[in-house]
Amino acid sequence: MQMASFLDARDVLIEHKILSKEQVYQTLVERICRHHQLPICGDKLIELIRKRDEEASTAYPTGIAIPHIRMEGYQDTVVAMAFLQNPIDFDGVKVSWVVLIITDKSSSKIYLNIVAALLKISKSPEQLALLMSAVDGHAVIHHLKSLNIEVKKDLTIADIMITNPISITPDKLLKDLGALMSDKGISIVPVTDSQGKFLGEVNLLNFLKVGVPDYIMMLDNLNFLSSFEPLESLFERQDEVKVSEIMEKDIDTITPDASVIEAVFEMIQHKKRHLSVVEKGKLVGVVTAMDIFTQIVRA
């Protein structure tokens, strides 16, 4: 689907004056309400947008803000946007492109794909400059068409994964791993070589298992033990044991072009809450069950 198809030229605002956030919202809402039949409009809609803003910032570091309203009783997706010659401040982010998206209550896929497409544009300075140079809505739509900006039908892992993930090399010691885990608050770390080639994963349980010998795992129960020296001496062994000795090598990974449902399937099937995203042997990202939950289910 073409991005341009979601946009009406009349809903595009090219603004040279200095406006406040409120004024931008007001203008966008005015235009959208004039051209579309919306169940909620006017001040009520502005109020909804303001509430959404308070929940969490809608601005992205690339200078785009995407407020999103899920409207009861509305069966379509409509987009309005404003290009601002004078950027406005969104919680510390200079925003020169505000896009208001109104969708129905249930479907989030199209919305997420539109956001993904918008973010992609905002990351490219050339594309962004081209759009900013437009003189009116028709020009913006023309440029979107000429840039061939597509709204993908289906979301892929690449759209929701964390890029530039934290990773560790196998020659690192346990204490390095421990520091990394506690600093970043993560319990699973992908292991790569210095070139970024994916080698496996190491998790907190692998770490703790260093203090628990194999024979302990073979006992029927442990309730007669109140303390256990090897576990207590785990601290001392942190300087001897390397990540390579405890990492797991046969790890199921996922590719960036895999679908979200594939990731969910993998997670449930293998009881994992974390998947390393690997492309041509290289680690390109990680995706967690929480990412899917917050970005898809709760978005």
Partner: protein
């Protein structure tokens, strides 16, 4: 003749793979077992008919019983109690564990006993900060000794018991007396070998004595019920001739009752994790391969030549069987060895004629294979399992380490058995 050689080739190749463990031994046995059908040495019907289902279901039944018994915490209780009873003194622990291992193994099988008790001994030795290796080795010896005492203790005895008409009580009457002497003399040997050198600090001993054994029994009700079923099972084994039930029926009855009562919510877990299907299918494969040697007449030929050498004289024949089994069981796993020996002894019976003269032959086979298993690291399944557990925990036990001790104890036990067979039966 050609088929016999072909069967022998499959047999030799399979046993070579089993001994060297180039591939998983269950896989080797199953490939060999079906190869004899594919090659047309025996047809599928004959090969399947050779599978001793009494052995297969006996093993499955026992695995079910043990699975529920483990659940109750009984074994941990026995092991920890034993260590505390020994007051944390290493030599005492070793001696008491030797006895405990032999007793448990006589009733629950050597391999299971080792799988349950070795991890605990590794823990205890770790707490005492002494090497667990002598403990592991002596416990393996004890498990094979104890296993030799009953029909259900050691895989070779299970196979012999199923192939013959001997009852559970026959095994006890004929095999327990020499095993008691062997265990007693082995305790003396352990005392001589290990009385010096194992020093433990008071601090480490105190850690061990601190173990709280009150919590070890997790489910008292289930324990009492399981013990009741266990005793009932052993009683049924003893009354086998009166009841007219085979061992598999009795062990499956006990296993299924315990599964239904104790683990009914975990049936799937028990079936997938607690039943050692590798061992089950290993036995199935072995039965099929050995059948090819029987069907093609190879066993007949061997039995004939044994009679030629011994002149069919029972005393000489049983001595030959005892020592031949002892030596071979030390070199190769005693299960495949005894699987091949059973049909041979059956054939000898035809040559010898008088059934009463056959008894010492069977008991010689049982003692030879069970005790010979202690001769080297690879002699019996329990040895391999124990060394595997020790190795995984960073205590490597080499072939030489084990054999040095094993050979000494085996020699002792073989001499006792020779005297026993000699004076009791002739």
């Amino acid at each position: 003749m050609f088929l016999m050689l072909l069967a022998l080739a499959v047999f030799a190749a399979t046993y070579l793979f089993i001994i060297t463990e180039w591939i998983n031994k269950m896989l080797a046995a199953m490939i060999g077992g079906f190869l004899i059908i594919v090659l047309g040495i025996v047809n599928q019907h004959t090969a399947f008919a050779a599978i001793d289902w009494n052995v297969i279901f006996f093993l499955i039944g026992m695995m079910l019983v043990i699975s529920v018994l483990r659940e109750t915490g009984l074994f941990m209780f026995i092991a920890i109690k034993t260590a505390k009873l020994a007051k944390g003194k290493p030599l005492n622990i070793m001696l008491l564990m030797f006895v405990a291992t032999a007793i448990v193994s006589a009733f629950l099988g050597s391999v299971t006993t080792i799988m349950i008790l070795v991890p605990i001994v590794l823990l205890i030795a770790g707490e005492l900060k002494i090497s667990p290796v002598p403990f592991v080795i002596t416990m393996v010896l004890a498990s094979n000794f104890g296993g030799a005492a009953t029909m259900i203790g050691d895989p070779p005895n299970i196979l012999i018991g199923s192939a013959t008409d001997y009852s559970f009580l026959d095994f006890i009457v004929n095999l327990t007396p020499p095993v008691l002497v062997i265990v007693g003399s082995s305790l003396g040997l352990i005392y001589l070998l290990y009385r010096k050198g194992m020093q433990v600090s008071n601090v480490n001993r105190a850690r061990l004595m601190d173990y709280n054994d009150r919590n070890l029994i997790k489910n008292k009700k289930l324990l009492y019920f399981a013990l009741f079923i266990l005793v009932a099972m052993l009683t049924a084994f003893s009354l086998q001739t009166i009841l007219g039930l085979e061992t598999a029926t009795i062990s499956m009855a006990a296993g299924l009752i315990l599964l239904a009562v104790g683990s009914r919510k975990k049936v799937e877990k028990v079936l997938t994790q607690d039943i050692d299907w590798i061992t089950i299918f290993f036995f199935i494969g072995l039965f099929m391969i050995v059948e090819s040697l029987v069907a093609t007449g190879f066993i007949d030929v061997i039995a004939g030549s044994v009679i030629k050498i011994t002149g069919g004289e029972p005393k000489t024949t049983s001595m030959v069987i005892l020592w031949l089994s002892g030596i071979f069981s030390a070199i190769i796993d005693n299960v495949p060895f005894v699987a091949a020996m059973i049909p041979m002894i059956e054939k000898l019976g035809i040559y010898i004629g008088d059934p009463s003269k056959m008894h010492p032959l069977w008991w010689s086979l049982a003692l030879g294979t069970c005790l010979g298993g202690n001769g080297t690291l690879i002699g019996a399944s329990a040895n391999i399992v124990a060394v595997g557990i020790a190795n995984r925990n960073g205590f490597s036990i080499s072939f030489k380490d084990f054999t040095k001790i094993g050979a000494l104890f085996t020699l002792n036990s073989m001499i006792i058995s020779t005297l026993y067979i000699w004076f009791r039966y002739y």
